[in-house]
Amino acid sequence: QLDRGCALHTAARGGLSSVSSQDVPAQRPRAIFHTSESDPAKHTEQHEGRLYNIPLEEVKAVFPHGLPHRFQQQIQTFNEARVMVRKPALEILAYLKGSNFAHPAVRYVIYGERGTGKTMTLCHVVHYCSRQGWLVLHVPDAHLWVKNCKELFQSSYNKDRLDQPLQASVWLKNFKTSNERFLQEIKTQKKYMWGKRESTEEGRPLREVVEQGLARVRSASDAVGVVLREIKQQSHRGSFRLLVAVDGVNALWGRTTLSKEDKSPVSPEELTLVHNLRKMVTNDWNGGAIVTTLSQTGSLFKPSSAYTPQELLGKEGFDALDPFVPIPVPNYSPREFESCYGYYLERKWLQHEKAHTEDGKAELQFLSGSNPRQLDRLAGPL
């Protein structure tokens, strides 16, 4: 009998999943809360509340940097990636399926309280788009670009702006992993000079720009800028669809905690990365969509109770993103809660003997308030 109180290492837990003297009566057939449909394009309302599987190779290819940390740990533990199909994601998928790509790109802003599943919704949409063959520009957390930057260099391209080589190179690496074939196909339309000696000629594949950025870390931010510019200009031709997925888009219009050498604060538009990303999020291009998430969790100088678009984006951000389609993400509905609970039971994640009872389930629902993050944290030690 495993002790309730002892904190088991997640790996050990996975290994010991078969050791349970309790006869786990999880005789629910897998069909109830699982669905075998692993193509997001075919998800409909009947799949709502169910979990679908993403093969692990696909996870590595599509999500080099997008998934929430705890979800990544869960994938490691359970050895599978199961994502729940929920209404907000289905809504966005429906809009994407029906959107006219000749019109300017539509912006969707996913918002909701803490821990309700905004990032997972975004990942679901990203998976759909990558399955459909879109070029996915996934910025996992824009807040990372406005805080905790050790190295800030003055940009060689524009004296007023500041470069962030480390963040830019990390992002370029992940971008390369997820969009290999596009980088080969898309060709540059202009000659770009990197410093005095190096340059990228016109007509070279975009891959070279990325390699340049990774090799010469100092010019990584400019490489990012070039990539974004090229992609934006070429998306309207129709050879590929572009999805701009930004998590924590409110970072682009807030404040930063960075300061220049003379200790004066840096405003976001002085950062090259932020400046270029802002250009991507405007709707002056067509042939794709922009799906963004608001996040209070990593945000700077925002109260923890703020979750609505105006509160988090501020006046500037709202005016920049307006008109957008707001997509609220609520807590689990009773059906979704059942399905998540059933999944934990089935994977033997809930080891406590009382957790299997109806009372235990009601207690979990009450304690977590049907909030996905709270449920995940509560189920951890059980």
């Binding site: 300017p104 105006q310 707001p326």
Partner: protein, 432 residues
């Protein structure tokens, strides 16, 4: 309590040297000394220890005949015992095992303190007569010697006077219990109040002997019936209310400006009070003739003095020494504000978006964005010659405008957000 302790030590010291030979005078003198300190200042308004001390010494003093010479007779042991115990209990603050119940004691003490007749003059006499006897031979013992007396039951048990609250009728005239502002008297207030920090796993202390309740100001003298009586008394000095003004709306219609002044009376040699010069002027802006620009400018000029919810402007003036001057100044302020808000200065044209009180969609960023997007949509569909006016007049744009204005002015609610979502979907022609 440290005073008592000190005297206890002193008395103990004396005992050691001269057991049994303890001058009565000195003990009563000690008692009298202690009586003087708390008693003089705190008739009826003392803390618990002070009360008891004061009371005890009051007994000791004002029992029948303070002039009665302290007799050294060794009274009957019970008498001595009982009174001595009482005295000891008083003096030592009931640190002894309460041979006499605290309630009995406090009631007796309090009834004394409240100025009522002593419950039993017999008690007072007994206390006084036996106190010296007690002090005669066992002087120090009253203070320290409760230990020795604890085993013996008092043969003289005085019955405690019930508090006055038990004799109060439910429909009594409260204004006679508390005719003026007075301290809280637990025996006179028939309410089961508790106040103070509770002991661990206990409840707040009761009202008997509760210093916290006595310290704070109370309004027991200002109950509605009492105020009714005040009004009835003041009525003789008032004129009749005009019969034509029988509703609030009529009052507001005929007299939109309300002036509030306060008069102060106090017992003292002077009738002046500097607070009497304050004048408060209240007026609703809807009663003033202001157009849109004038109203916004007026509100900006007065700042905090205007309440959005009730639309009332409140001007409080106290800068002049006389009430009439303050009233004139208040009226002057109102006139100046009114006239100034109707004027338009040259620099008012530089009013920017941050200065606006509410969100106006026209010429805003949102309008620009929407028009740009629509123009691009039309261009992609190869529909040309669509002017901005047409776009602005179209239904979808009007809908969008309303939703954005509501969102910005009223804040974000569920309904506002869903309305905005619907309007954007219609604007951008998104189909599910």
């Amino acid at each position: 309590m440290h005073r008592v302790g000190l005297l206890v030590c002193l008395c103990r010291a004396r005992t050691r040297f001269q057991p049994g030979i303890f001058p009565a005078q000195s003990s009563t003198a000690a008692l009298r000394d202690r009586a003087r300190e708390p008693c003089g200042s705190s008739r009826g308004r003392t803390g618990p220890a002070g009360l008891r001390e004061g009371g005890a010494t009051a007994f000791a003093h004002s029992g029948p005949g303070p002039s009665r010479p302290p007799s050294r007779r060794a009274g009957p042991r019970e008498e001595r015992g009982g009174a001595g115990m009482a005295a000891r209990c008083c003096q030592a603050g009931l640190s002894c095992g309460a041979l006499l119940s605290q309630a009995v004691l406090s009631q007796a003490v309090l009834s004394r303190a409240a100025g009522g007749a002593p419950a039993t003059p017999h008690w007072g006499r007994a206390a006084f007569s036996s106190a010296p006897a007690v002090s005669g031979r066992e002087g120090p013992q009253p203070r320290e010697g409760s230990v020795r007396r604890r085993g013996r039951t008092p043969q003289f048990v005085r019955s405690a006077a019930p508090p006055r609250t038990e004799r109060m009728a439910v429909d009594q005239d409260w204004s006679s219990v508390y005719p003026t502002a007075a301290a809280f008297k637990p025996a006179s207030v028939p309410l089961p109040i508790r106040m103070g920090y509770p002991v661990k796993r206990g409840v707040p202390p009761p009202k008997e002997g509760n210093l916290e309740l006595i310290k704070i100001p109370n309004f027991l003298h200002l109950t509605p019936p009492a105020i009714k009586k005040h009004c009835a008394a003041l009525k003789d000095f008032c004129t009749e209310w005009p019969s034509a003004l029988d509703s609030d709306e009529k009052c507001e219609q005929h007299f939109p400006i309300e002036i509030e002044t306060v008069d102060y009376v106090s017992s003292g040699t002077s009738i002046r009070n500097p607070k009497a010069r304050v004048v408060t002027l209240r007026v609703k802006l809807s009663n003033l003739n202001l157009d849109d620009h004038a109203k916004k400018k007026f509100i900006k000029l007065v700042g905090e003095r205007y309440c959005q919810k009730t639309d009332v402007l409140t001007i409080t003036t106290d800068r002049c020494p006389l009430r009439r001057q303050n009233y004139d100044y208040g009226m002057h302020l109102l006139t100046v504000l009114y006239h100034e808000s109707w004027k338009t200065e040259k620099w008012e044209s530089e009013k920017s978006e941050e200065d606006m009180e509410e969100y106006i969609w026209e010429n805003s960023r949102s309008q620009k964005n929407a028009l740009d997007t629509l123009l691009r949509i039309k261009a992609s569909e190869n529909v040309s010659n669509v002017t901005e006016e047409e776009l602005l007049a179209s239904e979808v744009v009007k809908n969008y405008r309303n939703s954005v204005t509501a969102l910005k002015n009223e804040g974000e609610t569920e309904s506002n957000m869903s309305q905005y979502k619907e309007s954007v979907k219609k604007l951008l022609n998104i189909q599910a």
